[in-house]
C-alpha cells in the first residue's frame, strides 16, 4: 500500500507560508533595490540629492535613457579612495578581535551556567538577559562614565594605588572592544549555553572512565561537541559588530575606523547618497558571505543528525 500523493494545501496555509516572504519582499528586498539603484546614480544638488530619478511621465524612452545613465562609477570610487577599504578591513578586524574576546569571556560563563545546579539555571539565564531591559544606547553611554580619564574605573584604580596616572581607555579601540564585548555577550552566551546544557553528562563520565583526566575531557569531548553553539554565538556577535555604529561613535576615538562611522559621515556630513549607498551594498555583501557560510554549516549539522 503506497500513499504517494502530495498533500493539498488550503488557501490559509499558502497565506501562512507567503507571509514571511511578503514581509522580506516589502521590507528587505524592495529597499535593497532602492539602495542599489541609488548606488548606481550620480550625486546632484537636488532633492533627493542624486540623478537620475525615475519619472514615468517621460514615457518609455526617457526611462531607458535614465537606465542608461546608471553607472558603477561609485563602486570604482570606493577602490580609489583608500578610506573605504581601510574602513572595511578595520571593521572586520575589530569585529574579529571583539568576537574572540567575547568567546573567551562567554565560554566559561556559558559552561559555568550549564554545569550549575538545575535550580539555579533559570535565575542565571535571567541575569544574562537582564541588561536588555535597559536601552542599548544608554548602556553604551554609561561606559563613557566608567572609562573616561576621570571615570569610575580610573578613580577606583587610583584609589587602590594600582596606577599613578589615569589609564587612557576612552576614545581608543580598547574602549570599542569593551563596548562590543559587553553589548554582545548575551548573544554568544545564549546559544552556547543551549548547546552545553544539552551535552550528555554520561559522555564526560565515559571519557573519565576510560582514563581521561577531567581537564583533558573538557578539550576532547566538551569543546568539540559545543562547536555548533560556538559557531552560532560567534556569528551572532561578528555580523552586527562589523556594521556597528553606536559603539565606535560613542566610545571610539577619531582614529577608530569603522565602516558604520564612514557610512554615517558619507550620508549625513557629505550628503553623498550614491557613494554611501555603494558603501552599504558592499557592507551587505561582506555580511552576507558569513551568513551563507553559517547557513551551510547548519545545513550540514542537520543532515548529520
Amino acid at each position: 500500500m503506497s500513499t504517494q500523493h502530495t498533500p493539498r494545501r488550503s488557501l490559509g496555509s499558502w497565506l501562512l507560508i507567503a507571509a514571511p516572504f511578503l514581509w522580506l519582499l516589502i521590507f528587505f528586498l524592495a529597499p535593497f533595490f532602492m539602495v542599489f539603484k541609488i548606488s548606481l546614480s550620480e550625486i546632484a544638488i537636488a532633492i533627493p540629492p542624486y540623478l537620475p530619478t525615475f519619472d514615468l511621465d517621460g514615457g518609455w524612452a526617457a526611462l531607458v535613457d535614465d537606465l542608461k545613465s546608471l553607472s558603477i562609477e561609485n563602486y570604482l570610487w570606493l577602490t580609489e579612495d583608500d578610506l573605504y577599504w581601510k574602513s572595511y578591513l578595520s571593521s572586520v578586524q575589530i569585529a574579529l578581535i571583539s568576537t574572540l574576546l567575547t568567546l573567551l569571556i562567554g565560554y566559561p560563563l556559558a559552561y559555568g551556567m550549564a554545569r550549575s545546579p538545575k535550580a539555579w539555571r533559570p535565575t542565571l539565564l535571567m541575569l544574562v538577559i537582564l541588561p536588555f531591559w535597559t536601552s542599548f544606547l544608554i548602556r553604551v553611554y554609561a561606559w563613557v562614565g566608567i572609562l573616561k580619564n576621570e571615570g569610575l574605573l580610573n578613580q577606583l584604580l587610583l584609589w587602590l594605588g594600582v596606577i599613578d596616572e589615569p589609564l587612557v581607555i576612552m576614545n581608543t579601540n580598547a574602549a570599542v572592544f569593551i563596548g562590543i564585548v559587553y553589548s554582545y555577550l548575551p548573544f554568544l552566551v545564549l546559544p552556547l549555553y543551549a548547546t552545553l546544557e544539552k551535552l550528555d553528562e554520561s559522555l564526560l563520565e565515559a571519557a573519565q572512565d576510560l582514563g581521561c583526566p577531567p581537564w583533558k575531557t573538557f578539550w576532547t569531548i566538551t569543546v568539540p561537541l559545543s562547536i555548533p553553539g560556538v559557531v552560532a554565538g560567534c556569528f551572532l556577535v561578528f555580523i552586527p559588530a562589523v556594521g556597528e555604529f553606536v559603539i565606535p561613535d560613542l566610545l571610539g576615538g577619531s582614529n577608530t575606523l569603522m565602516i558604520g562611522k564612514t557610512l554615517w559621515v558619507e550620508f549625513f556630513s557629505n550628503r553623498d547618497w550614491p557613494v554611501s549607498s555603494a558603501v552599504a551594498v558592499i557592507l551587505l555583501l561582506i555580511l552576507v558571505i558569513p551568513i551563507v557560510l553559517f547557513q551551510n554549516h547548519q545545513q550540514k549539522l542537520s543532515e548529520r543528525a
Binding site: 563520565e205 565515559a206 573519565q208 572512565d209 576510560l210 582514563g211 561537541l225 548529520r304
Partner: protein, 403 residues
C-alpha cells in the same frame, strides 16, 4: 549466530591466547569461589552507605565479589543498584564505608585512575568520533604506542564483528551495533572489572537474548570479572554466576540463580523473582526431613521436604512456583482428603504459545496459578474456563517462608 569466541580465536593475539588456555566448554563450569573461605574477594564493599540529602540510596551494605565472577545486581528502580556500581566506578563517593578492589582501597582514586571500565546504559558513545576512534579512546589515554593501538582496535572490531563499521559515526549504526561498540570500547583496555549498567535494555527481545548468551561466553573466554546492573530478572538469571537482589539500599539475598529461584530467602524475593503462589498455612508438624502444614481454611494439607525454624502452630507462607503445579480434571481425584492437592475452578487461561497459564480460584481469597507446557497441538479433553480442576504438586515442589 556464532559466538564472539570463534572470532577471537582466529585472531591469534591476546584474545586468542586467552582462549587457547581454556576450552570453550559448557557455559556453567564448576565455579563457586564464594563457598571457599580461603578465597580472597576481588571486589569488596565494606559497610558502604551512600546518602543523597535525606535519601539513603545504599544502606550499610557489605558484599564480596570474586575474580572471574559474572555478578548481577538485581532490583527495582531506586533500590540503589546503580549507585553501588557508580561508587565502584568512582562517579559517586560513599558517605561512609570502604570499597576494595584487588586489595586496594579505592577511596580517593579518581574515576580515570580506576582499573575498571563501564558500559553505560545509554552507551555514551562519543558522537563526534568514528567507531574506531571510540574504541581507541581509552588506549590513547594510556599512551599506547600507535602500532599496538592499531592492533588492539582491530582485535576489538573483530571480536564484536564491527570491522565493516570502523569508519562510521555512532549515529550511523543500529542499536545493536552501538551496543557492540560500547562493549568493545569498555573491553579494549582489558579492565580488571567490566561494569555493565543495564547493557541490553535498549535492544529488542530477540537481540537481547542472543547478546545475553554472547556476553556469558565472552566473559568466560576472557576470564574477566563482570558486574552487571539490571532490573530484568531473566537477564540476571541468564548471565550471572551469582545474583544479589537489592531492595531499598540493602541486599536481600546473594545466591546463584537456581538457588534464588528455587530457594528464595524471603517472601520479597519469592515474589520479586518469577511468578509464585503464596499460601498462608499453619505448621502442624516438623522434623529433620520436612514439615507438614495445614491451610485448613482452604482444605489444603501440605507435606513438604522444606524445613522451617517456625514453631508448630506458627503461621508461615508456603511458596510454590506455577510450573511445579499439575492441573487435571477434578473427577480424577479419588477422595476429598488430599495431600498436596486442592480443588479449584478455572477462572482464566492465558495462552502464551509455549506455555499456558491457568488462573484458578480455590475460594474468594485464594487464587492459584499453574503453568503447563503446551507439549502437543491437540489435547483430548482440554481444560477450559469454569472447569472444576485439581491442582496437585510433589513433596519437594514448594518451600516454606517465614511470615
Amino acid at each position: 549466530m556464532k559466538g564472539w569466541a570463534d572470532f577471537s580465536y582466529r585472531c591469534g593475539t591476546w584474545w586468542g591466547s586467552v582462549l587457547a588456555k581454556k576450552s570453550v566448554g559448557p557455559l556453567r563450569r564448576e565455579f563457586a569461589p564464594w563457598d571457599d573461605v580461603t578465597e580472597r574477594p576481588f571486589i569488596e564493599f565494606r559497610n558502604v552507605t551512600k546518602r543523597f540529602g535525606d535519601f539513603t540510596a545504599v544502606d550499610d551494605l557489605s558484599l564480596k565479589i570474586y575474580e572471574r565472577e559474572f555478578f548481577a545486581l538485581l532490583g527495582g528502580s531506586g533500590c540503589g543498584k546503580t549507585t553501588l556500581m557508580r561508587m565502584l566506578a568512582g562517579f559517586e563517593r560513599p558517605t561512609s564505608g570502604t570499597i576494595l578492589l584487588d586489595g586496594q582501597d579505592l577511596a580517593g582514586v579518581p574515576p580515570h585512575r580506576r582499573p575498571v571500565n563501564m558500559m553505560f546504559q545509554s552507551y555514551a558513545l562519543f558522537p563526534h568520533m568514528s567507531v574506531e576512534a571510540n574504541i581507541a579512546f581509552g588506549l590513547k589515554q594510556d599512551k599506547m604506542p600507535a602500532e599496538d593501538l592499531k592492533g588492539r582496535v582491530s582485535e576489538m572490531l573483530k571480536l564484536t564483528k564491527l570491522e565493516a563499521f570502523a569508519k562510521r559515526k555512532p549515529h550511523q549504526l543500529s542499536g545493536g551495533q552501538r551496543q557492540r561498540v560500547a562493549l568493545a570500547r569498555a573491553l579494549a583496555k582489558k579492565p580488571k572489572v567490566l561494569l555493565l549498567d543495564e547493557p541490553l535494555g535498549a535492544l529488542d527481545r530477540k537481540l537481547r537474548e542472543e547478546t545475553q548468551f554472547e556476553l556469558t561466553t565472552l566473559q568466560q573466554d576472557l576470564g574477566m570479572t563482570f558486574l552487571i546492573v539490571t532490573h530484568d530478572q531473566e537477564e540476571a538469571m541468564t548471565v550471572a554466576d551469582r545474583i544479589a537482589v537489592m531492595d531499598a539500599g540493602r541486599i536481600v539475598q546473594v545466591a546463584p540463580p537456581a538457588e534464588i529461584y528455587e530457594a528464595p530467602g524471603s517472601k520479597f524475593i519469592a515474589d520479586f523473582i518469577g511468578d509464585i503462589n503464596l499460601i498462608e498455612a499453619t505448621v502442624v508438624e516438623k522434623s529433620e526431613g520436612g514439615s507438614v502444614l495445614n491451610a485448613k481454611e482452604f482444605g489444603i494439607h501440605i507435606e513438604t521436604a522444606s524445613t522451617t525454624s517456625a514453631a508448630v502452630g506458627d503461621t508461615v507462607w508456603y511458596a510454590i512456583r506455577p510450573e511445579k503445579i499439575e492441573i487435571s480434571h477434578a473427577d480424577t481425584l479419588e477422595t476429598d482428603t488430599m495431600v498436596n492437592a486442592v480443588r479449584a475452578e478455572v477462572w482464566d487461561i492465558g495462552y502464551l504459545g509455549d506455555v499456558s497459564i491457568f488462573h484458578t480460584r480455590v475460594d474468594e481469597t485464594l487464587a492459584i496459578r499453574a503453568t503447563v507446557a503446551n507439549r502437543s497441538r491437540h489435547v483430548e479433553r482440554p481444560i477450559s474456563w469454569d472447569d472444576q480442576v485439581a491442582m496437585s504438586w510433589g513433596r519437594d515442589a514448594g518451600v516454606i517462608l517465614e511470615a
